[in-house]
Amino acid sequence: MVADIIVFGAIWTAIYSMIALGFSLIFGVAKIMNLSHGAFFMFACYAAYYLSSSGLGLFWVALGAIVITIILAIVSYLGIIKPMRNSLTQVLILTFAFAMFLEQIIVITFGPEPRYVPSMLEGGMSILGVRVTHQQVLAFVITIVLILFLWWLLSRTNMGRIIRAVSQDREMASMLGINAEKIFIFVMGLSAAFAAVAGLLVAPFLTVTPAMGWSPILAAFTIVVLGGLGNVWGTLIGAFIVAYAEMITSYAFNPQLKEAVTFTIMILALMYRPNGLFSKGVSDA
């Protein structure tokens, strides 16, 4: 039982991190609370389902789903978010409405019945005596790789320095000749790419439904509240806390209490640490 908690807790920490990082990143840089982030996750799953049903190879399915989701995110940014960006409330409502809009489009296009995406890897292996699928291991490994990539991008590249500059002081960055708008578009695309990759990795072992984006966005919201909006490492620690709290509660008590635990953490975090455990702007450490 302890081994199960350790292994599945690690897998869900990775998945939650991937979803929450994109959500946290766009807020940290552009101060956009994007409630359609979960819908991008869902949209990528459907894109993968559609492309795989068309007979495309695995690489093209993954690439196609990620690119389509990035395009959707950028179009939503330019069409909906950008004109309203100065009002946090309006952005919240608009992105919520856009998520509902996407969900309805998916229901009309694919129907309300669940869809299934084939696994990228077959078979399974034993870790600490717990049998996990290769797909779950792949999700874990790719998440680690992408987190390292994000760390490298933000801390070791010129683009990362620009992103951090815009995050810390947009006006000053603009005066120094940085086109903040281009950075916002880049980060929006990057954020959507994280949601899309998360969707692609978990779709084979979950049920793909039009409403599947809401549960991850709630988890992501709790994680970033806990870790501090815009804080990359805080987000990872938040994901770790939420994933393991859910696992321990599910094993020790009842799996149905999983979401109650998530909300309890959110309430406690908002009451006692409203700025998160490690709140600051987008940081590499």
Binding site: D4, G79, F101, G124, R131, L206, P255
Partner: protein, 412 residues
């Protein structure tokens, strides 16, 4: 500048909402209803169900097949049988609206279908008010037939050639008890969704199997990941588990059970495992999984195998959810009853339906006093299938079985 941008944004948002509204309105008006020619040369049957769902689509396809076959064999009372389809969209309000349209605009002679209990219960009084026969072919709620007992005069036009939840519960428990006895199992488990219809079965299961019960789990109907339940199942040491899944969780459960090679046999009810797509949806991993399936390819009556084969030929897939065969039988029973009664008069038809036994594809259909039907080997058997190398092997009861039960390869 900011105002201009805001206006542009609001304009975009409004345009999106407008497009969506027009789109949805267009979809809602895209009625599935057939046309009414208004002549007396046809007898009309209204077919209802949530056609966008798999169970509803099955109703539509099977009813269409029944109507086609009846017309190919001379129709009903020498007249052509015409089906008028109405999508209830799994919504009681929508159900009432489309049923009223069927009754008073399309002027159907009787209505067949509907698998959602809440919709069936909502449309039942509307149909009874019009004194037309309602053959409910999917809802398992006992309330549908209890209404007949409680107010016979008003509700006597309701018939249900389909098992209710009490019969289903008894069937699941009997099959499980037989399996436990045959294999000599000492440790059993139950994984049943959190739903009202499951509660009495869980209670009886715990009483019936007593000390042998090592685990009872009640996951939510929208569970997307069974890692925790399956770990608990493995740790419990259970040898066999009954699952009761009527929603969309069956495929994920089966996949994870097989991928993690949980050494516990699975039987019970998995609605998704009744569909021919199940094998591909689980990527061929569900070998050895057992489930109740109403309607199998076995010689239960002379209509059973032809139904299976004709359905497969017409739709390019084998019959799926139970709603198909019940809708098929519903249309057949009504056509037979009209021919026997020599009229479409509802009062006369009630008498015929109450007194006669009808031959359906699922078995011999004999209505009870409450207008539910009798199950058992001489009537409608409680059949089980097991997924074996991509095929649905018929494994129970013995009288109709065509295949032997196998164990999943990781349990051998």
């Amino acid at each position: 500048m900011v105002i201009k941008r805001k206006k542009k944004g609001i304009g975009f948002a409004l345009s999106m909402i407008l497009i969506l509204s027009v789109f949805l309105a267009a979809c809602n008006s895209d009625s599935d209803s057939g046309s009414s020619d208004g002549d007396n040369e046809t007898i009309k049957v209204g077919i209802i169900g949530a056609f966008q769902l798999a169970a509803g689509k099955e109703i539509k396809d099977a009813a269409e097949l029944a109507v086609k076959e009846i017309n190919e064999n001379g129709g009903v009372l020498g007249k052509k049988l015409e089906a008028v389809y109405a999508d209830t969209k799994a919504n009681p309000e929508e159900g009432r609206a489309v049923v009223e349209r069927l009754l008073y605009q399309d002027e159907v002679d009787f209505i067949v279908g509907e698998h959602r209990s809440e919709v069936a219960l909502a449309v039942q009084p509307v149909i009874m008010e019009s004194k037309k026969i309602f053959v409910n072919t999917g809802s398992a709620s006992p309330l549908v037939t209890e209404a007949v007992k409680e107010d016979y005069e008003f509700n006597k036009y309701t018939f249900r050639p389909m098992m209710d939840s009490t019969q289903l519960g008894e069937g699941f428990l009997n099959q499980f008890a037989q399996m436990v006895e045959t294999e000599g199992y000492e440790k059993v488990a139950l994984i049943a969704e959190t739903a009202v219809w499951v509660d009495p079965i869980v209670e009886t299961f715990e009483k019936q199997f007593g000390d042998k019960v090592v685990l009872v789990e009640r996951p939510a109907t929208d569970t997307e990941d069974f890692s925790i339940e399956l770990s608990k199942l493995k740790d419990s040491g259970a040898e066999v588990a009954m699952t009761l899944f009527s929603a969309n969780q069956g495929i994920v459960f089966a996949k994870q059970w097989a991928e993690r090679q949980i050494p516990v046999e699975i039987t019970g009810y998995n609605v998704q495992a009744q569909s021919p797509e199940f094998w591909n949806q689980t990527e061929g991993k569900a070998n050895g999984l057992l489930t109740w399936k109403h309607g199998v390819r076995s010689e239960i009556t002379e209509k059973s195998i032809p139904f299976w084969d004709n359905f497969t030929e017409d739709y390019g897939r084998t019959p799926g959810p139970y709603t198909g065969i019940t809708a098929y039988d519903g249309v057949l029973v009504m056509a037979d009853a009209i021919n026997k009664a020599g009229t479409v008069n509802s009062v006369e038809l009630v008498k015929t339906l109450e007194s006669e036994t009808f031959v359906g594809a699922s078995g011999n259909i004999k209505f009870r006093e409450d207008h539910g039907y009798t199950i058992g080997e001489d009537f409608v058997p409680f059949t089980y299938i097991q997924w074996q190398d991509g095929e649905m092997g018929v494994v129970g009861p013995e009288s109709v079985a065509t295949d032997e039960i196998i164990k999943p390869e990781w349990i051998k």
